[in-house]
Amino acid sequence: MKLFHLRHIDWLETQLIYHAQPRVNVEGINILAPNSPYVCIGYHQNLEQEVDLQYCSDNNIPVFRREVGGGAVYLDGNQIFYQIVIHKDNPLAAGRKADFFERMLQPVAITYQELGIPAKFRPVNDVITEAGRKIAGTGAVEIGDYIILVGNLIADFDYKMMSRVLRVPDEKYRDKIYKSMTENLTTIKREKGKIPGWDEMVDPLLRNYEKVLGDLEPSELPEMVREKMLDLKPLYLDDQWLFKKRRISGERNIKISTDVNIIQRIHKAPGGLIRTAFELKDDRISNLSISGDFFCYPSGAIGELEKILEGTRLSVVRDNVLKFYEGKELEIPGIAPDDWVKVLVG
């Protein structure tokens, strides 16, 4: 397989390259990083809903919508991207999606181990440390007859900027995202106390990928890929592509790792709109905040409901909501216990 080892390049090219390769039938593995930061959203996301566009514009942070799935992410030169573009008929592409992810992410886990960070692949598509913290971002897409897997070695991560570029309802929610990310996502720098040199990280990565992909042949990026990147550039920067409406906004889910999500949900009950934001870890609710334009007497009851539901598993939310109502003189007109269940469990 061809190896396109490009090191730090223009931020936009780091995305255009793997969108171009399948369109000109060029298989390969790309190793690269952006030379300036940008925000990248998932294919099915709504840009305006996910990203604080004013902040990005004020700070000259460009925004890109990739064809790969997943959520919004702040990317910069401290993340080394690996992008594998492979034809569907290539035996390496065989099997279920989960198998493909495992085959292509094991070399990443082994690379971390060789860097002194005990890490392992966790289905479906995570690489995690011994402490269960995520240490790679990954995703995949089918374009034409090709499958593309993208991911990164996270040398360092700007948690503050990541939580800053996201669009949030209030600062409390932003703080929730920041705390959850620092607790559940780690980096080489955090694990080892320093950022190794580029080759120190990339050499083992290539060696481990070679065991899966076969010989990697260092190659110049073909001119036809560069030409296709130029063709695609205006399409991917066009507002119609960037601002395309993809998802309904009744629910928002910021995935921190496979089993940690920050969820924001809105439910229109007869008595008014209920908004919730909470962290869901191992199927348990934490840091729940409830707001909305409904009437509630006594006013402190909602705080009490938040406390009762702290640590609750989704499967017993209904039972705990019913307990909350038991023996209380509550006035929450137009909102029934099942409305709370709806806005919490979905």
Binding site: G42, Y43, H44, E67, V68, G69, G70, A94, G95, R96, K97, A98, F101, V124, N125, T138, G139, A140, V141, E142, G144, R246, R247, I248, G250
Partner: protein, 141 residues
């Protein structure tokens, strides 16, 4: 109903090699993902359905689905124009997993050439049974 490799395939439907089913009612073709197709895909988290009125060609990728950060494409089994899409999927994409031949349908097309259905598999054909057996081997082993 045919059962092949423990997966169900209703007799009245047509099937593509991409695990899409098609139901013909006059010129109206309803399409969806087969029980096997949804099983291979895993939990469907998002479905992007095509807009009403869109013209599509047979085998054109015209929809997308996301499962576990993987964006896959759905190819049209026939040429035609989109009549309507399943709006429920924007809220409940998991219907594709839980009821693939029923409420998890994807979109309806007005076919421009019903003859294209003849190129698709039927549930009771030996060719289809062999194809699904080979696919199961490819995906599950």
């Amino acid at each position: 109903m045919a059962t092949i490799e423990n997966f169900e395939f209703p007799d009245e439907l047509f099937y593509t090699a991409d695990h899409v089913w098609a139901r013909a009612e006059g010129n109206t073709i309803t399409i969806g993902l087969t029980q096997f197709g949804q099983d291979v895909a895993g939990d469907i988290l998002f479905v992007e359905v095509p807009a009403q009125g869109r013209e599509v060609a047979k085998d054109e990728a015209f929809m997308s689905m996301e499962s576990g950060k993987w964006v896959g494409r759905v190819k049209s089994p026939v040429s035609g124009k989109v009549l309507e899409s399943n709006a429920e999927l924007e809220w409940e994409s998991d219907l594709v997993n839980s009821d693939p031949y029923g409420t998890g349908w994807l979109t309806r097309l007005e076919a421009s050439d019903l003859g294209e259905l003849d190129t698709l598999f039927r549930a009771d054909s030996n060719e289809f049974a062999a194809f699904i057996a080979a696919e199961k081997k490819k995906y599950k082993e």
